[in-house]
Subunit: 244 residues, 2 copies
DNA sequence: CGAAACTTTGAAGCTCATCAACAGAAGTGG
DNA sequence: CCACTTCTGTTGATGAGCTTCAAAGTTTCG
Protein backbone atom coordinates (compact mmCIF):
# COMPACT_ATOMS: atom_id res chain seq x y z
CA UNK A 1 0.00 0.00 0.00
CA UNK A 2 1.74 3.15 -1.16
CA UNK A 3 1.07 6.76 -0.35
CA UNK A 4 -0.72 7.52 -3.58
CA UNK A 5 -3.60 5.26 -2.72
CA UNK A 6 -4.53 7.91 -0.24
CA UNK A 7 -4.69 10.76 -2.72
CA UNK A 8 -8.13 12.35 -2.61
CA UNK A 9 -8.89 11.45 -6.22
CA UNK A 10 -8.00 7.84 -5.62
CA UNK A 11 -10.12 7.70 -2.50
CA UNK A 12 -13.05 9.18 -4.32
CA UNK A 13 -12.88 6.88 -7.33
CA UNK A 14 -12.25 3.81 -5.17
CA UNK A 15 -15.62 4.23 -3.56
CA UNK A 16 -17.31 3.51 -6.86
CA UNK A 17 -14.92 1.33 -8.81
CA UNK A 18 -12.50 -1.16 -7.35
CA UNK A 19 -9.21 -0.18 -8.93
CA UNK A 20 -6.49 -2.63 -9.86
CA UNK A 21 -2.81 -2.09 -9.12
CA UNK A 22 -2.26 -1.09 -12.71
CA UNK A 23 -5.03 1.46 -12.57
CA UNK A 24 -3.68 2.82 -9.32
CA UNK A 25 -0.30 3.15 -10.97
CA UNK A 26 -1.81 5.12 -13.85
CA UNK A 27 -3.55 7.42 -11.38
CA UNK A 28 -0.21 7.76 -9.64
CA UNK A 29 1.43 8.90 -12.85
CA UNK A 30 -1.27 11.52 -13.37
CA UNK A 31 -0.30 13.01 -10.02
CA UNK A 32 3.33 13.64 -10.90
CA UNK A 33 3.60 17.26 -11.98
CA UNK A 34 2.71 18.87 -8.69
CA UNK A 35 2.28 22.64 -8.59
CA UNK A 36 1.29 25.29 -6.05
CA UNK A 37 -1.00 28.24 -6.71
CA UNK A 38 -1.62 31.20 -4.49
CA UNK A 39 -5.01 32.30 -3.34
CA UNK A 40 -6.99 34.83 -5.33
CA UNK A 41 -5.30 34.69 -8.71
CA UNK A 42 -7.32 33.16 -11.53
CA UNK A 43 -6.12 29.77 -12.63
CA UNK A 44 -8.32 29.84 -15.68
CA UNK A 45 -9.87 33.01 -16.97
CA UNK A 46 -13.25 33.42 -18.62
CA UNK A 47 -12.78 33.33 -22.39
CA UNK A 48 -9.20 32.15 -22.23
CA UNK A 49 -8.22 29.19 -24.36
CA UNK A 50 -5.85 26.25 -24.29
CA UNK A 51 -5.43 25.93 -20.58
CA UNK A 52 -3.99 23.04 -18.68
CA UNK A 53 -6.14 20.72 -16.60
CA UNK A 54 -5.42 19.80 -13.00
CA UNK A 55 -6.38 17.46 -10.24
CA UNK A 56 -6.78 19.36 -7.01
CA UNK A 57 -4.68 17.76 -4.28
CA UNK A 58 -5.07 20.23 -1.47
CA UNK A 59 -7.13 23.35 -0.81
CA UNK A 60 -10.35 24.69 -2.27
CA UNK A 61 -11.09 26.57 -5.50
CA UNK A 62 -14.27 27.93 -7.03
CA UNK A 63 -15.60 28.29 -10.57
CA UNK A 64 -17.50 31.46 -11.28
CA UNK A 65 -18.85 33.77 -13.93
CA UNK A 66 -18.66 37.54 -13.73
CA UNK A 67 -21.56 39.56 -15.13
CA UNK A 68 -21.10 42.81 -16.94
CA UNK A 69 -22.55 44.68 -13.95
CA UNK A 70 -19.74 43.25 -11.81
CA UNK A 71 -21.78 40.73 -9.87
CA UNK A 72 -20.33 37.28 -9.47
CA UNK A 73 -22.11 33.95 -9.59
CA UNK A 74 -20.15 31.05 -8.17
CA UNK A 75 -21.13 27.97 -10.12
CA UNK A 76 -19.30 25.37 -8.13
CA UNK A 77 -16.63 24.78 -5.52
CA UNK A 78 -13.91 22.19 -6.03
CA UNK A 79 -12.32 20.28 -3.19
CA UNK A 80 -9.40 17.84 -3.09
CA UNK A 81 -9.87 15.03 -5.57
CA UNK A 82 -11.81 17.15 -8.05
CA UNK A 83 -10.69 17.93 -11.58
CA UNK A 84 -10.08 21.53 -12.60
CA UNK A 85 -10.55 22.79 -16.11
CA UNK A 86 -11.09 19.40 -17.69
CA UNK A 87 -13.80 20.74 -19.96
CA UNK A 88 -11.82 23.83 -20.78
CA UNK A 89 -9.06 21.62 -22.11
CA UNK A 90 -11.29 19.36 -24.15
CA UNK A 91 -13.13 22.33 -25.62
CA UNK A 92 -10.12 24.60 -26.02
CA UNK A 93 -12.00 27.38 -24.31
CA UNK A 94 -13.57 28.19 -21.00
CA UNK A 95 -16.77 30.08 -20.34
CA UNK A 96 -16.01 30.56 -16.67
CA UNK A 97 -13.10 31.44 -14.43
CA UNK A 98 -11.46 29.33 -11.75
CA UNK A 99 -9.76 30.84 -8.71
CA UNK A 100 -8.08 29.32 -5.64
CA UNK A 101 -9.79 30.22 -2.37
CA UNK A 102 -6.72 29.31 -0.37
CA UNK A 103 -3.24 28.37 -1.46
CA UNK A 104 -3.69 25.11 -3.30
CA UNK A 105 -1.69 22.15 -4.51
CA UNK A 106 -2.68 20.72 -7.83
CA UNK A 107 -1.24 18.14 -10.21
CA UNK A 108 -1.12 19.25 -13.81
CA UNK A 109 -2.67 16.78 -16.21
CA UNK A 110 -1.32 16.47 -19.73
CA UNK A 111 -4.08 15.80 -22.19
CA UNK A 112 -1.92 13.15 -23.82
CA UNK A 113 -1.47 11.35 -20.49
CA UNK A 114 -5.17 11.48 -19.88
CA UNK A 115 -6.04 10.11 -23.30
CA UNK A 116 -3.42 7.41 -22.81
CA UNK A 117 -4.93 6.51 -19.49
CA UNK A 118 -8.35 6.32 -21.07
CA UNK A 119 -7.10 4.08 -23.85
CA UNK A 120 -5.24 1.64 -21.61
CA UNK A 121 -7.45 1.51 -18.55
CA UNK A 122 -11.09 1.70 -19.60
CA UNK A 123 -12.29 1.14 -16.06
CA UNK A 124 -10.43 4.24 -15.03
CA UNK A 125 -12.03 6.16 -17.87
CA UNK A 126 -15.36 4.92 -16.64
CA UNK A 127 -14.64 6.09 -13.11
CA UNK A 128 -13.57 9.53 -14.31
CA UNK A 129 -16.63 9.82 -16.52
CA UNK A 130 -18.67 8.94 -13.46
CA UNK A 131 -17.02 11.70 -11.47
CA UNK A 132 -17.61 14.21 -14.25
CA UNK A 133 -21.28 13.35 -14.50
CA UNK A 134 -21.59 13.68 -10.74
CA UNK A 135 -20.20 17.19 -11.03
CA UNK A 136 -22.85 17.95 -13.61
CA UNK A 137 -25.57 16.57 -11.36
CA UNK A 138 -24.33 18.91 -8.64
CA UNK A 139 -24.66 21.91 -10.92
CA UNK A 140 -28.23 20.89 -11.71
CA UNK A 141 -29.03 20.50 -8.03
CA UNK A 142 -27.51 23.92 -7.43
CA UNK A 143 -29.79 25.33 -10.09
CA UNK A 144 -32.79 23.71 -8.43
CA UNK A 145 -31.80 25.28 -5.14
CA UNK A 146 -31.57 28.76 -6.64
CA UNK A 147 -34.93 28.36 -8.32
CA UNK A 148 -36.95 26.67 -5.61
CA UNK A 149 -35.44 26.88 -2.15
CA UNK A 150 -35.59 29.78 0.27
CA UNK A 151 -32.45 31.22 1.82
CA UNK A 152 -32.38 28.99 4.88
CA UNK A 153 -32.86 25.78 2.91
CA UNK A 154 -30.24 26.88 0.40
CA UNK A 155 -27.60 27.41 3.05
CA UNK A 156 -28.52 24.16 4.80
CA UNK A 157 -28.43 22.22 1.56
CA UNK A 158 -25.11 23.74 0.64
CA UNK A 159 -23.47 22.62 3.88
CA UNK A 160 -24.92 19.14 3.62
CA UNK A 161 -23.73 18.65 0.07
CA UNK A 162 -20.26 19.86 0.92
CA UNK A 163 -20.12 17.59 3.95
CA UNK A 164 -21.07 14.59 1.83
CA UNK A 165 -18.45 15.43 -0.78
CA UNK A 166 -15.75 16.04 1.78
CA UNK A 167 -16.55 12.85 3.66
CA UNK A 168 -15.82 10.93 0.47
CA UNK A 169 -12.22 12.15 0.51
CA UNK A 170 -11.82 11.89 4.25
CA UNK A 171 -12.14 15.58 5.06
CA UNK A 172 -15.45 15.71 6.86
CA UNK A 173 -18.20 13.80 8.60
CA UNK A 174 -21.68 14.25 9.99
CA UNK A 175 -20.05 16.15 12.81
CA UNK A 176 -18.71 18.91 10.55
CA UNK A 177 -15.74 19.97 8.43
CA UNK A 178 -13.05 22.59 8.02
CA UNK A 179 -14.30 25.27 5.65
CA UNK A 180 -12.15 28.14 4.35
CA UNK A 181 -15.04 30.03 2.77
CA UNK A 182 -16.22 33.49 3.72
CA UNK A 183 -19.84 34.55 3.93
CA UNK A 184 -19.25 36.37 0.64
CA UNK A 185 -18.48 33.05 -1.01
CA UNK A 186 -21.75 31.64 0.26
CA UNK A 187 -23.59 34.74 -0.90
CA UNK A 188 -22.16 34.63 -4.42
CA UNK A 189 -22.85 30.94 -4.69
CA UNK A 190 -26.37 30.97 -3.28
CA UNK A 191 -27.60 34.11 -5.01
CA UNK A 192 -28.04 36.02 -1.73
CA UNK A 193 -26.53 39.16 -0.27
CA UNK A 194 -23.74 38.66 2.23
CA UNK A 195 -25.81 40.50 4.82
CA UNK A 196 -28.65 38.08 4.44
CA UNK A 197 -26.35 35.08 4.55
CA UNK A 198 -25.13 36.39 7.86
CA UNK A 199 -28.65 36.59 9.23
CA UNK A 200 -29.52 33.12 7.99
CA UNK A 201 -26.39 31.71 9.61
CA UNK A 202 -27.39 33.31 12.86
CA UNK A 203 -30.84 31.78 12.64
CA UNK A 204 -29.47 28.31 11.89
CA UNK A 205 -27.13 28.69 14.84
CA UNK A 206 -29.89 29.87 17.17
CA UNK A 207 -32.11 27.00 16.06
CA UNK A 208 -29.34 24.63 17.11
CA UNK A 209 -28.91 23.19 13.63
CA UNK A 210 -25.45 24.18 12.42
CA UNK A 211 -22.68 26.59 13.32
CA UNK A 212 -20.31 28.20 10.83
CA UNK A 213 -17.54 29.88 12.75
CA UNK A 214 -13.78 30.30 12.62
CA UNK A 215 -13.41 28.35 9.41
CA UNK A 216 -15.36 25.37 10.57
CA UNK A 217 -18.86 24.06 9.93
CA UNK A 218 -20.23 22.10 12.91
CA UNK A 219 -23.47 20.19 12.63
CA UNK A 220 -25.42 20.39 15.87
CA UNK A 221 -28.49 18.64 14.49
CA UNK A 222 -27.66 16.84 11.29
CA UNK A 223 -31.04 15.20 10.79
CA UNK A 224 -32.85 18.44 11.49
CA UNK A 225 -30.80 20.10 8.76
CA UNK A 226 -31.55 17.30 6.33
CA UNK A 227 -35.25 17.82 6.94
CA UNK A 228 -35.03 21.57 6.59
CA UNK A 229 -33.08 21.36 3.34
CA UNK A 230 -34.99 18.37 1.97
CA UNK A 231 -31.53 17.01 1.29
CA UNK A 232 -31.55 13.83 -0.72
CA UNK A 233 -27.99 12.69 -1.46
CA UNK A 234 -29.12 10.35 -4.20
CA UNK A 235 -27.76 12.61 -6.91
CA UNK A 236 -24.32 12.33 -5.36
CA UNK A 237 -24.34 8.57 -5.08
CA UNK A 238 -25.77 7.50 -8.39
CA UNK A 239 -24.62 4.15 -9.63
CA UNK A 240 -21.77 3.71 -12.04
CA UNK A 241 -21.78 4.53 -15.73
CA UNK A 242 -21.41 2.53 -18.90
CA UNK A 243 -19.19 -0.54 -18.79
CA UNK A 244 -19.21 -0.85 -15.04
CA UNK B 1 -28.55 16.84 -51.66
CA UNK B 2 -31.03 14.64 -49.82
CA UNK B 3 -33.76 15.48 -47.35
CA UNK B 4 -31.84 14.42 -44.29
CA UNK B 5 -29.42 17.28 -44.63
CA UNK B 6 -32.28 19.40 -43.48
CA UNK B 7 -32.92 17.51 -40.26
CA UNK B 8 -32.56 19.91 -37.32
CA UNK B 9 -29.64 17.99 -35.83
CA UNK B 10 -27.80 18.05 -39.12
CA UNK B 11 -28.43 21.75 -39.54
CA UNK B 12 -27.17 22.44 -36.07
CA UNK B 13 -23.99 20.38 -36.35
CA UNK B 14 -23.25 21.69 -39.84
CA UNK B 15 -22.89 25.18 -38.50
CA UNK B 16 -19.85 24.12 -36.54
CA UNK B 17 -18.32 21.24 -38.41
CA UNK B 18 -18.40 20.75 -42.16
CA UNK B 19 -19.74 17.21 -42.50
CA UNK B 20 -18.70 14.83 -45.25
CA UNK B 21 -21.15 12.71 -47.21
CA UNK B 22 -20.18 9.73 -45.13
CA UNK B 23 -20.83 11.59 -41.90
CA UNK B 24 -24.15 12.81 -43.21
CA UNK B 25 -25.03 9.23 -44.03
CA UNK B 26 -24.22 8.12 -40.49
CA UNK B 27 -26.39 10.90 -39.10
CA UNK B 28 -29.06 9.74 -41.48
CA UNK B 29 -28.89 6.24 -40.06
CA UNK B 30 -29.28 7.59 -36.54
CA UNK B 31 -32.57 9.12 -37.61
CA UNK B 32 -34.19 5.87 -38.72
CA UNK B 33 -36.34 4.65 -35.82
CA UNK B 34 -38.84 7.45 -35.75
CA UNK B 35 -41.40 7.54 -32.94
CA UNK B 36 -44.20 9.82 -31.74
CA UNK B 37 -44.91 10.74 -28.12
CA UNK B 38 -47.94 12.51 -26.75
CA UNK B 39 -47.80 15.64 -24.68
CA UNK B 40 -47.63 15.47 -20.91
CA UNK B 41 -46.48 11.89 -20.33
CA UNK B 42 -42.95 11.48 -19.01
CA UNK B 43 -40.50 10.13 -21.54
CA UNK B 44 -37.89 9.53 -18.85
CA UNK B 45 -38.77 9.47 -15.20
CA UNK B 46 -36.63 10.69 -12.33
CA UNK B 47 -34.75 7.71 -10.87
CA UNK B 48 -35.62 5.38 -13.71
CA UNK B 49 -32.80 3.41 -15.30
CA UNK B 50 -31.82 2.03 -18.67
CA UNK B 51 -33.80 4.33 -20.84
CA UNK B 52 -33.41 4.89 -24.53
CA UNK B 53 -31.90 8.04 -25.97
CA UNK B 54 -33.51 10.13 -28.69
CA UNK B 55 -32.91 12.92 -31.11
CA UNK B 56 -35.80 15.31 -31.09
CA UNK B 57 -37.10 15.85 -34.61
CA UNK B 58 -40.19 17.93 -33.99
CA UNK B 59 -41.83 19.59 -31.02
CA UNK B 60 -40.55 20.74 -27.63
CA UNK B 61 -39.81 18.87 -24.42
CA UNK B 62 -38.51 19.94 -21.05
CA UNK B 63 -36.25 18.38 -18.41
CA UNK B 64 -37.24 19.00 -14.84
CA UNK B 65 -36.85 17.93 -11.25
CA UNK B 66 -39.74 17.64 -8.81
CA UNK B 67 -39.11 18.57 -5.20
CA UNK B 68 -40.66 16.71 -2.32
CA UNK B 69 -42.92 19.70 -1.62
CA UNK B 70 -44.32 19.33 -5.12
CA UNK B 71 -42.66 22.33 -6.70
CA UNK B 72 -41.07 21.83 -10.08
CA UNK B 73 -37.83 23.27 -11.41
CA UNK B 74 -37.42 23.07 -15.14
CA UNK B 75 -33.73 22.65 -15.85
CA UNK B 76 -33.80 22.93 -19.59
CA UNK B 77 -35.99 22.92 -22.67
CA UNK B 78 -35.13 20.84 -25.70
CA UNK B 79 -36.01 21.84 -29.22
CA UNK B 80 -35.66 20.04 -32.56
CA UNK B 81 -32.11 18.85 -33.12
CA UNK B 82 -31.40 18.32 -29.43
CA UNK B 83 -30.54 15.00 -27.81
CA UNK B 84 -32.85 13.59 -25.16
CA UNK B 85 -31.64 11.36 -22.37
CA UNK B 86 -28.14 10.90 -23.72
CA UNK B 87 -26.63 11.13 -20.26
CA UNK B 88 -29.28 8.88 -18.76
CA UNK B 89 -28.23 6.18 -21.17
CA UNK B 90 -24.52 6.52 -20.61
CA UNK B 91 -25.02 6.57 -16.85
CA UNK B 92 -27.77 3.96 -16.70
CA UNK B 93 -29.81 6.28 -14.54
CA UNK B 94 -31.48 9.63 -14.68
CA UNK B 95 -31.75 12.21 -11.93
CA UNK B 96 -34.40 14.21 -13.74
CA UNK B 97 -37.54 13.66 -15.75
CA UNK B 98 -38.24 14.55 -19.37
CA UNK B 99 -41.70 15.35 -20.66
CA UNK B 100 -43.05 16.44 -24.07
CA UNK B 101 -44.67 19.87 -24.04
CA UNK B 102 -46.50 19.17 -27.27
CA UNK B 103 -46.81 16.00 -29.28
CA UNK B 104 -43.31 15.28 -30.47
CA UNK B 105 -41.46 13.25 -33.04
CA UNK B 106 -38.18 11.74 -31.96
CA UNK B 107 -35.72 9.25 -33.41
CA UNK B 108 -34.62 6.56 -31.03
CA UNK B 109 -30.86 6.17 -30.80
CA UNK B 110 -29.35 2.79 -30.09
CA UNK B 111 -26.29 3.06 -27.90
CA UNK B 112 -24.51 0.61 -30.15
CA UNK B 113 -25.21 2.74 -33.22
CA UNK B 114 -23.97 5.79 -31.41
CA UNK B 115 -20.75 4.12 -30.29
CA UNK B 116 -20.27 2.80 -33.83
CA UNK B 117 -20.75 6.28 -35.19
CA UNK B 118 -18.21 7.61 -32.72
CA UNK B 119 -15.69 4.96 -33.67
CA UNK B 120 -15.97 5.39 -37.43
CA UNK B 121 -16.55 9.11 -37.77
CA UNK B 122 -14.47 10.95 -35.19
CA UNK B 123 -15.45 14.32 -36.59
CA UNK B 124 -19.06 13.47 -35.91
CA UNK B 125 -18.17 12.46 -32.37
CA UNK B 126 -16.46 15.80 -32.04
CA UNK B 127 -19.51 17.63 -33.24
CA UNK B 128 -21.79 15.78 -30.86
CA UNK B 129 -19.41 16.38 -27.97
CA UNK B 130 -19.52 20.03 -28.91
CA UNK B 131 -23.29 20.04 -28.81
CA UNK B 132 -23.33 18.31 -25.44
CA UNK B 133 -20.93 20.82 -23.95
CA UNK B 134 -23.04 23.63 -25.31
CA UNK B 135 -26.01 22.18 -23.47
CA UNK B 136 -23.96 22.18 -20.31
CA UNK B 137 -22.97 25.80 -20.86
CA UNK B 138 -26.65 26.66 -21.17
CA UNK B 139 -27.40 25.04 -17.83
CA UNK B 140 -24.63 27.10 -16.25
CA UNK B 141 -25.98 30.27 -17.81
CA UNK B 142 -29.43 29.35 -16.53
CA UNK B 143 -27.94 29.00 -13.06
CA UNK B 144 -26.32 32.41 -13.36
CA UNK B 145 -29.65 33.89 -14.33
CA UNK B 146 -31.43 32.42 -11.32
CA UNK B 147 -28.70 33.65 -9.02
CA UNK B 148 -28.06 37.12 -10.37
CA UNK B 149 -30.74 38.45 -12.67
CA UNK B 150 -34.03 40.04 -11.69
CA UNK B 151 -37.32 38.80 -13.09
CA UNK B 152 -37.40 41.08 -16.12
CA UNK B 153 -33.84 40.26 -17.18
CA UNK B 154 -34.49 36.55 -16.65
CA UNK B 155 -37.48 36.52 -18.95
CA UNK B 156 -35.69 38.63 -21.53
CA UNK B 157 -32.61 36.44 -21.43
CA UNK B 158 -34.73 33.34 -21.72
CA UNK B 159 -36.41 34.53 -24.91
CA UNK B 160 -33.13 35.63 -26.42
CA UNK B 161 -31.42 32.34 -25.76
CA UNK B 162 -34.32 30.39 -27.19
CA UNK B 163 -34.39 32.58 -30.27
CA UNK B 164 -30.69 32.00 -30.86
CA UNK B 165 -31.07 28.25 -30.45
CA UNK B 166 -34.11 28.08 -32.69
CA UNK B 167 -32.49 30.21 -35.35
CA UNK B 168 -29.74 27.60 -35.60
CA UNK B 169 -32.27 24.99 -36.71
CA UNK B 170 -34.28 27.35 -38.87
CA UNK B 171 -37.19 27.86 -36.49
CA UNK B 172 -36.72 31.46 -35.45
CA UNK B 173 -35.08 34.77 -36.12
CA UNK B 174 -34.54 38.19 -34.60
CA UNK B 175 -38.16 38.86 -35.44
CA UNK B 176 -39.52 36.11 -33.19
CA UNK B 177 -40.48 32.45 -33.06
CA UNK B 178 -43.36 30.05 -32.48
CA UNK B 179 -43.42 29.07 -28.83
CA UNK B 180 -45.75 26.41 -27.37
CA UNK B 181 -44.91 27.23 -23.74
CA UNK B 182 -47.36 28.46 -21.13
CA UNK B 183 -46.58 31.10 -18.54
CA UNK B 184 -46.35 28.24 -16.03
CA UNK B 185 -43.47 26.78 -18.01
CA UNK B 186 -41.66 30.09 -17.84
CA UNK B 187 -42.39 30.35 -14.12
CA UNK B 188 -41.07 26.88 -13.33
CA UNK B 189 -37.99 27.45 -15.41
CA UNK B 190 -37.17 30.93 -14.15
CA UNK B 191 -37.91 30.36 -10.48
CA UNK B 192 -40.81 32.84 -10.44
CA UNK B 193 -44.51 32.56 -9.75
CA UNK B 194 -46.78 32.37 -12.77
CA UNK B 195 -48.53 35.52 -11.59
CA UNK B 196 -45.31 37.45 -11.57
CA UNK B 197 -44.29 36.11 -14.97
CA UNK B 198 -47.56 37.47 -16.26
CA UNK B 199 -46.82 40.91 -14.85
CA UNK B 200 -43.31 40.92 -16.24
CA UNK B 201 -44.60 39.94 -19.67
CA UNK B 202 -47.02 42.81 -19.53
CA UNK B 203 -44.25 45.21 -18.64
CA UNK B 204 -42.01 43.97 -21.46
CA UNK B 205 -44.93 44.35 -23.83
CA UNK B 206 -45.75 47.85 -22.62
CA UNK B 207 -42.12 48.86 -22.89
CA UNK B 208 -42.25 47.83 -26.54
CA UNK B 209 -39.57 45.18 -26.14
CA UNK B 210 -41.19 41.81 -26.76
CA UNK B 211 -44.65 40.29 -26.98
CA UNK B 212 -45.57 36.75 -25.97
CA UNK B 213 -49.06 35.98 -27.18
CA UNK B 214 -51.01 33.19 -28.86
CA UNK B 215 -48.06 30.82 -28.92
CA UNK B 216 -45.66 33.26 -30.48
CA UNK B 217 -42.79 35.41 -29.22
CA UNK B 218 -42.35 38.60 -31.25
CA UNK B 219 -39.37 40.85 -30.71
CA UNK B 220 -40.35 44.48 -31.03
CA UNK B 221 -36.98 45.82 -29.95
CA UNK B 222 -34.36 43.14 -30.16
CA UNK B 223 -31.39 45.31 -29.26
CA UNK B 224 -33.24 46.81 -26.33
CA UNK B 225 -33.89 43.34 -25.00
CA UNK B 226 -30.24 42.38 -25.42
CA UNK B 227 -29.26 45.39 -23.35
CA UNK B 228 -31.85 44.71 -20.67
CA UNK B 229 -30.84 41.05 -20.35
CA UNK B 230 -27.12 41.67 -20.76
CA UNK B 231 -27.37 38.85 -23.26
CA UNK B 232 -24.01 37.71 -24.53
CA UNK B 233 -24.43 34.74 -26.90
CA UNK B 234 -20.78 33.80 -26.64
CA UNK B 235 -21.55 30.74 -24.52
CA UNK B 236 -23.75 29.43 -27.32
CA UNK B 237 -21.22 29.94 -30.06
CA UNK B 238 -18.03 28.74 -28.49
CA UNK B 239 -15.52 27.32 -30.89
CA UNK B 240 -15.21 23.65 -31.62
CA UNK B 241 -13.76 21.02 -29.30
CA UNK B 242 -10.79 18.72 -29.44
CA UNK B 243 -9.67 17.52 -32.87
CA UNK B 244 -11.48 20.21 -34.76
C1' DC C 1 0.16 49.57 14.15
C1' DG C 2 -2.63 50.77 10.68
C1' DA C 3 -5.12 48.99 6.76
C1' DA C 4 -7.81 45.67 4.69
C1' DA C 5 -10.93 41.97 4.88
C1' DC C 6 -14.59 39.87 7.17
C1' DT C 7 -18.55 39.69 10.42
C1' DT C 8 -22.46 41.60 12.70
C1' DT C 9 -26.54 44.35 13.54
C1' DG C 10 -30.28 47.94 12.53
C1' DA C 11 -33.52 50.44 9.53
C1' DA C 12 -35.92 51.30 5.29
C1' DG C 13 -37.81 49.84 1.17
C1' DC C 14 -38.46 47.08 -3.08
C1' DT C 15 -39.14 42.79 -5.48
C1' DC C 16 -41.67 39.11 -5.69
C1' DA C 17 -44.97 35.40 -3.60
C1' DT C 18 -49.42 34.40 -2.10
C1' DC C 19 -54.28 34.69 -1.99
C1' DA C 20 -58.35 35.69 -4.39
C1' DA C 21 -61.31 36.42 -8.12
C1' DC C 22 -62.68 36.45 -12.86
C1' DA C 23 -62.54 35.84 -18.02
C1' DG C 24 -61.62 33.30 -22.09
C1' DA C 25 -60.22 28.98 -24.45
C1' DA C 26 -60.08 24.28 -24.82
C1' DG C 27 -61.25 19.95 -23.94
C1' DT C 28 -64.96 16.30 -22.01
C1' DG C 29 -68.95 13.79 -21.22
C1' DG C 30 -73.89 13.20 -20.87
C1' DC D 1 -74.65 19.97 -28.78
C1' DC D 2 -74.47 22.31 -24.75
C1' DA D 3 -73.19 22.25 -19.96
C1' DC D 4 -69.21 21.04 -17.54
C1' DT D 5 -64.83 21.16 -15.90
C1' DT D 6 -60.07 22.23 -16.62
C1' DC D 7 -56.38 24.96 -18.24
C1' DT D 8 -54.50 29.37 -19.18
C1' DG D 9 -54.19 34.21 -18.80
C1' DT D 10 -55.14 38.55 -16.28
C1' DT D 11 -55.51 41.87 -12.51
C1' DG D 12 -55.77 43.67 -7.51
C1' DA D 13 -54.43 43.61 -2.60
C1' DT D 14 -51.39 42.31 1.01
C1' DG D 15 -47.26 41.16 3.15
C1' DA D 16 -42.98 38.17 3.57
C1' DG D 17 -38.34 37.72 2.19
C1' DC D 18 -34.69 39.69 0.73
C1' DT D 19 -31.63 43.79 -0.73
C1' DT D 20 -29.51 47.97 0.14
C1' DC D 21 -27.47 51.39 2.89
C1' DA D 22 -25.11 52.47 6.94
C1' DA D 23 -22.14 51.86 10.75
C1' DA D 24 -19.49 49.58 14.00
C1' DG D 25 -16.91 45.54 15.82
C1' DT D 26 -13.51 41.87 14.96
C1' DT D 27 -9.85 39.49 12.91
C1' DT D 28 -5.92 39.18 9.77
C1' DC D 29 -1.90 40.67 7.91
C1' DG D 30 1.87 43.37 5.84
Amino acid sequence: MNAIENSPLTRKLSVFVALSDMELAVLDRLHQRRRTFVQGIDLVHQGQSDQAAYVLAEGWVCSYKIQRDGSRQIVDFQIPGDFLGLRSVLLHTSDHSIVPIVEIEAAEILVSDLLDAFAHTPRLATAILWAASRDEAMVVEHLVGLGQRDAEARVAHFFLELAARLALVGLGSKAGFECPLTQYHLADSLGLSAVHVNRVLRRLREEGLVTFRDGRVSFENYDGLVTLAEFDPEYLNHTGPLLS
